[in-house]
Subunit: 464 residues, 2 copies
């Protein structure tokens, strides 16, 4: 057993600690395709030294203190569903797997919030609430693969965010363990004016500033009514313009998803007319609100062809199906998704620029996008690309080329390089340009909260 | 001329610097009644050394660098409308008056945001937008007395916040000058997942972590339609329950204000039935939304007596009338307001506790409250108290006694000590208990961003 493992077993008990090959290997990657590619190519860093499975915040704190004493890097690991390598541990590190901390601690019906441990899986969380007549309103595609703590720590967004908000709107309070082992609790209140929002330090912290151990999240009574419609537009620009009109005056249908012609044909084969961009609309809430909202959406979509609710129902049934990377890697293909965002004045041009730029990637099979999270200010683009690199040994280079093109286009459009997947390891180098003159602030936070640099080094803040 | 004034005049030009007695005196207090009381009693700290009026961010940065070289404390001063002493300068400090930086720099119609300099007055900002068919959606009572920078730096809330959001919802990006003189810009994007929100460091920073010099704020097209109604409830509890029902299912009328019987009689004399609590409702937005929302509010208020739109119109016409403290001090009276908030499960009890507790303050004339900012999770209480202390020489002691009782009650209810006025100097000692285990995080931020402790010392972070 490793030195750190021995110390942890002594302090927390041997049942909390695992160093068998299967456990270490299982924690050596997350859902980042490049980590899987590197694993196949034998280019992955060495395994972590040890995986610890704390059952309480106090045990997380103890594990952090022990790792600090031994000078060992600390990587929190939730569901392992991150797609940017944020939980890919450095060789010899300590992985803190939070999934044994999976209780819903408190449900406050009057104040509509719950306290939940960080290791509860998103799907279990939602099912637990649904049984009692609520929804958490947070439906990332990874809901069944991700923990609540991971969704908080990566600043996630859910498929129904236009109505229910993103994680920063949903998370009212939290508990985190700092690099020092100190436990901080930011209490939940409806709203306060008590200095900077300290909760915001941990939303998006990705283990680099602390480890989220508990969250207090808004919940919602189950919606009284739901309605759905699909519209077909001849171009992305026309569809984007319809969304802009809807959200501009304050409507916020839970779902407004616009697929480009490539994705419409691929995902809605039974319904999509040739070369059309499908817009899925789903409104839920009080019946009178839903009726008014659906009518307003119809007015904003005047001129488009209405296709009915079936495509939306189809999407609801298939929305969380994600392929195993092995399917593609076995065929010497790479597939990935990139989510970016920009203002309404720039988003149409950004879509065109990204799709055109991806065509320059050697071996590109497809580069397509949809918009799935809209705001009065702008919207996101969720880009999917698939490629069969001419020389698979060089696949990483071509993969990073594709990423670089999209990052460059986002920055040039004054947009953001990341709408909701976070930074991880893959985007850390790009974060410097994204934040610009504000980047030193992030470095100052990192130094202040992680002076020894042992908290998930290389994630969020690039090394060196 | 002071040493710092001489250095500033040399670098920025003599027209930027003032040290005449009238200017120094005008900047020696803000809108905190205790500062005015102390001024009358000759107990105020000495005046600042100098007032500088920069015309650009570069000049703010230069002034900060010069003050740091001279070891002089730096206090940003906007409209001087803060009611907690946040801009009351320590003796010998440098006051940076931002009001010469008052331009609207850019209006983006498609992305619905504007860039505005920090020194623009709130009322001018709103009027400028209104001329072009927009609203900023931000209507604090101090709108005509406060700068945009002050509203950002104190984490303010507006009277129409239930629809348009609070300043943290409205502020998409900003520029700030750090203690080092470095300028940081946090760019505006619709939404991003790029680590902790660095913008949030300056919302509520109150000059203690940096000086806000520019903000990018959401704007909204002028609402298509507006409707108003007033309901009379026999008790605060019944009125609070109606609001809870309205917001619980997702309605968000721009205004839902509930006055207790004392304030209803005082503010709505012509309409309020005896011993009734008036609830003002104002909905604005697309006509179909307003119609549905007003109907939902009526349903939630079933049993209450509808009094029509007149009280709401009256409130709209008088909402920003604030008395001069002199009116009261001349009569040896003290009047103040305190805004707190708590979850729906605790707010009724908190109202009762606060009103009862204030009765124990010697010389109390009245202690009353209204709720003006509601959320699905809870609401605020905006407390007004007036007192004629038995011995006016001891007025400060009794004033702090009243404050202490309200702070204690809020904390005991698991609420927050500040809904939207901020911390300033008055609440700084209470912030420690408010933040609890998270307070050291605030201290770490302060140390990281203001190592010499010259940024508005004593505001936000208590000395010592």
């Amino acid at each position: 057993m490793s030195e750190i493992g021995t110390a942890l077993a002594r302090e927390l008990g041997p049942d909390r600690v695992a160093e068998d090959a299967a456990t270490l290997t299982a924690h050596q990657v997350d859902y980042w395709i490049l980590a899987h590619l590197r694993a196949r190519q034998g280019r992955l860093d060495g395994p972590p030294a040890c995986v610890v499975r704390p059952q309480s915040t106090a045990e997380v704190a103890a594990a952090v203190r022990i790792a600090q004493r031994h000078g060992v890097a600390i990587v929190p690991y939730g569901g392992g569903s991150g797609v940017l390598g944020g939980a890919v541990p450095p060789a010899g590190s300590l992985v803190i797997d939070t999934r044994a901390m999976h209780k819903l601690l408190e449900l406050n019906d009057a104040a509509l919030w719950v306290r939940v441990q960080a290791g509860m899986m998103g799907g279990v969380y939602e099912a637990t609430l649904a049984e009692q007549g609520y929804t958490g309103g947070h439906f990332p595609q990874s809901i069944d693969l991700a923990t609540i703590g991971g969704l908080v720590a990566t600043r996630s967004a859910g498929q129904l965010s236009t109505r229910y908000g993103n994680i920063e709107d949903l998370c009212l309070g939290l508990e985190a363990v700092l690099a020092s082992g100190d436990v901080v609790r930011v209490k939940a209140v409806p709203r306060s004016s008590t200095g900077p929002s300290l909760r915001e330090l941990f939303l998006g912290s990705e283990g680099a500033l602390g480890i989220v151990t508990e969250a207090t999240l808004r919940i919602f009574p189950k919606a009284e009514h739901r309605a759905m419609e699909t519209y077909a537009f001849p171009t992305m620009a026309a569809g984007l313009e319809a969304i802009r009109k809807i959200v501009r005056v304050g409507w916020r249908p839970a779902v407004v998803r616009l697929y480009d012609a490539v994705e419409s044909a691929r995902n809605f084969t039974d319904w999509a007319p040739a070369d059309q961009c499908l817009l899925l609309v789903l409104s839920e809430g009080p019946r009178t609100l839903v009726d008014a909202e659906m009518a307003a959406c119809a007015a904003a979509c005047a001129g488009a062809v209405a296709l009915g609710a079936k495509p939306v129902e189809h999407w609801l049934g298939h929305r969380n199906v994600v392929p195993s990377w092995d399917t593609f890697l076995d065929r010497e293909m790479l597939v990935d998704t990139i989510e970016i965002a920009a203002g309404w004045d720039r988003i149409g041009g950004l879509y065109d620029a990204v799709v055109a730029s991806l065509q320059g990637v050697p071996g590109l099979l497809v580069g397509s996008a949809h918009s799935s999270h809209s705001y009065p200010q702008g919207t996101n683009l969720y880009i999917t690309f698939a490629m069969k690199p001419p020389d698979f040994a060089d696949a990483e280079k071509h993969y990073l080329d594709a990423w670089g093109r999209v990052m460059r286009a986002s920055l040039d459009a004054g947009g953001t390089i990341a709408h909701h997947h976070g930074i991880g390891r893959l985007r850390a180098e790009w974060l410097r340009e994204e934040l610009g003159t504000a980047y030193p602030l992030l470095l100052a936070l990192k130094r202040a909260l992680d002076p020894a640099g042992l908290m998930n080094p290389g994630t969020l803040v690039a090394r060196g």
